[in-house]
Amino acid sequence: MKTAVIVFPGSNCDRDAQVALKASFGGEPVMVWHGDADMPAVDMIVVPGGFSYGDYLRSGAMAATSPIMREVVKRANAGVPVLGICNGFQILTESGLLPGALMRNAGLKFVCRDVHLRIERNDTMFTSRYTQNTAIRIPIAHHDGNYFADADTLAMLKGENRIAFRYCDGNGNLSDDANPNGSIDHIAGIYNEKLNVLGMMPHPERLMDPALGGTDGTALFEGLVEALAA
């Protein structure tokens, strides 16, 4: 199976995504430079974290207008799985693949720490290896992770069961204390309508190795491998 990582000027988790994909999918992912005209046919695309274009305009806003994103949108619409992590999530909302926006953290500061996420559903290709309503531990590292959507959009996300992860405590309980950035309804990640696009602020690729203190991120990638092989 072939995977791709999109690289923008200022991406900085591209190598981490590359390592994670290689560990789970086996082959070397294609690293696609934002300016490259064409991306080969791939089975899955990661839009990695970082500070694309310095995030100087608004996180993800510049990258969303880059030519490669038109291609990513096209592939996503054709059913290719797309995973946007952190800045990648911001780019996916800015490019319209996902609804809502990521605003400055409620605490106004950059936050880097492990958080717990409640698995809202485990019947998608991203979460099949997790157990529904249990908590997993995954790190966050962002300044603009405060998810916001208007009431209608939020109602739609809930109605269509498109919330992927919610910030929670170690036992899976939701609380303001467990919400690191003020996200509305504790949202840490959401799906598109067809469930083949996932945007999430936490970094599953950073916790896939016992040497780094945890492996809760592994199941996300392994679940994808399994789903795509089927």
Binding site: A20, K109, L212
Partner: protein, 741 residues
Amino acid sequence: MSDNTVKITPDTIAEHGLNAEEYALILEIMGREPNYTELGIFSVMWSEHCSYKSSKKWLKTLPTEAPWVICGPGENAGIIDIGDGQAAVFKMESHNHPSYIEPYQGAATGVGGIMRDVFTMGARPIANLNALRFGSPDHAKTRHLVGGVVAGIGGYGNCMGIPTVGGECEFHSAYNGNILVNAMTVGLADTDKIFYSEASGIGKPVIYVGAKTGRDGIHGATMASTEFNADSEEKRPTVQVGDPFTEKLLLEACMELMATDAIVAIQDMGAAGLTSSSFEMASKGGMGVDLDLDNVPQREEGMTAYEMMLSESQERMLMVLEPGREDEARKIFEKWELDFAVVGKLTDTGHMVLRHKGEIVADLPIDPLAEASPEYDRPWVETEPAEYLATMLGEIAKSAPDDVLKAMMATPDLASKRWIWEQYDHMVMADTVARPGGDAALVRVHGTNKGLAITSDCTPRYCLADPVQGGRQAVAEAWRNITATGATPLACTDNLNFGNPEKPEIMGQLVGCIQGMGEACTSLDFPIVSGNVSLYNETEGNAILPTPVIGGVGLIDDISKAATLAFKNHGEFIVLIGDNFGHIGQSIYLSLATDVQKIYTPPALNLHRERRNGDFVREQILDGAVTACHDISDGGLLVAIAEMALAGNIGCKVEPNMVHECPLNDWLFGEDQARYIVTTSEEGAGTLIAAARNADVSALIIGETGGNAIVINQEMTQRGNISLDDLRDVHEGWLPSYMAG
């Protein structure tokens, strides 16, 4: 208009920070009066910051060599061999003055500058650390400075995608008007792909890459070489402005070009920008250089030669390329949307000739200017020996140990710094094995099982009381931090922060600290491979504490064998390694006694014992004989144990087991050196104690892990029971509530 119409008067000379003798030397070297541009160039090259004129004589005494040292001081950063064809490249540098004037940008550009020093040598940065010292928490500016500096460090490092994995942060009124921001970067390079600044090859093109040159930071190096006064805030325009996004592009573009063989020499534009980088490259290679300033990419209109040469705009590099490779290199920099300009060529004249708008605006002989910069043997006096303090004084000596512990864990120096390091991305690059909060950070060498242990340390209150012991202790503690992870300490970088060296007592502190550092480096096989000196850290005549910060790097072959400080299991034995004499002088415990103001002798550092104890502990860690390890430093034995308990969320019982009789609190909170706390299974304890006896190392069982409180032997005190939850609240609570205030 050219600045060269400006007349050189005694005032102009003084404004450039040059004294009469230095100006006389300039006249001798030039054989004529310099013009304004030339005077500006002399002033930055001969500034304390660039020339090390007060410290050079003493820096030369430091040990800098070992079989594993590839490159010692004198280049952009030091380099050590870590095996398998790879090298660790690292350095620490100060950005003190700018950070006081404009904390966010000052700290951010400090981080940006030190990362450039590392990647200009061909090393990809893999870890950042920072050693911060602020004024008293009660001082009106402190809160603002802490917030700005931390945000600036995070803003730059996070955007670059280099993890900030450790450091230190202390508070003392001596830094009220002069904070310290020392940033360290460690990079990873292939030993056959290291780049140096020595230029060679007459006619080869000199290339400018990176961001454009603006008027920011003009005379930053000169500012860093004078004392502060009430008007210093007016110097805000001399603080540079950082753009981490551009630096990230510069890093990637340089790495891409470095994979080819097109580069002859490369040097980042740091302090004194274009002047210093071009001089250093030409001077090291014994070359001349012609620069055409019309080709320098400029951000602002109408910049003069003087401004361009003295600008400290960030994110710029100068390099010499192999002839004919310009197009290949240009393509790479254009891909990364950076400026690329051929600005000159190497010559055989031994002169730097600057042209601007068709005129020669400066013509300076390189060697005399760079190499014959002034070197002073400044007068110095030895620091008065302090009095020895046998036992704790003041009211607090009567307090129960649990009350003292609670007070200690909430002091600004010992309180948790989580509020700081959670603002730094410390996990990006997915190789951070030991996160901030432990003895040393442990960062995996990407794609291997090896790890680099990295730390920074200094105890300024010891240096103030006894510079020689303090210098020794700074090196020894960095060595000890690395040892406590199981890694072998290999080399260090130093950042010497002192007051005005023209005052003999300050110069005496510098001389004493360097002497002590040198002794420790020699005894511990821990050479200094790079460093930075920051003098004139005074405001209105008040000097900072002598602060020689040591950044250390060590290597562990197998990260799975590394130790962490967290208690792992209930029912394990707690073993004290090293002797406990209950030394109170200059301890944090003593600083709690507000009714005691005198300076007393700091703990003496026996280097033989330090080496022996450390080598023993490391061996036990690598043999798997201990389950946790923590070195004992600020706050003494009980603070170390409390930190281990909090990290593992497992309590313990402490049994004061005294070989040298002293009051219980002195035993618990004294700061004797060369000590560690380790834990071991009950069965393993006997073997460990026996091994220690064979190695002539003192090892005593002083307690047992378990429960959810720290309990100090009930017979000796009626109380002495503090729950981990209470302890965590005070320990974690201080900094967030201070910053919220």
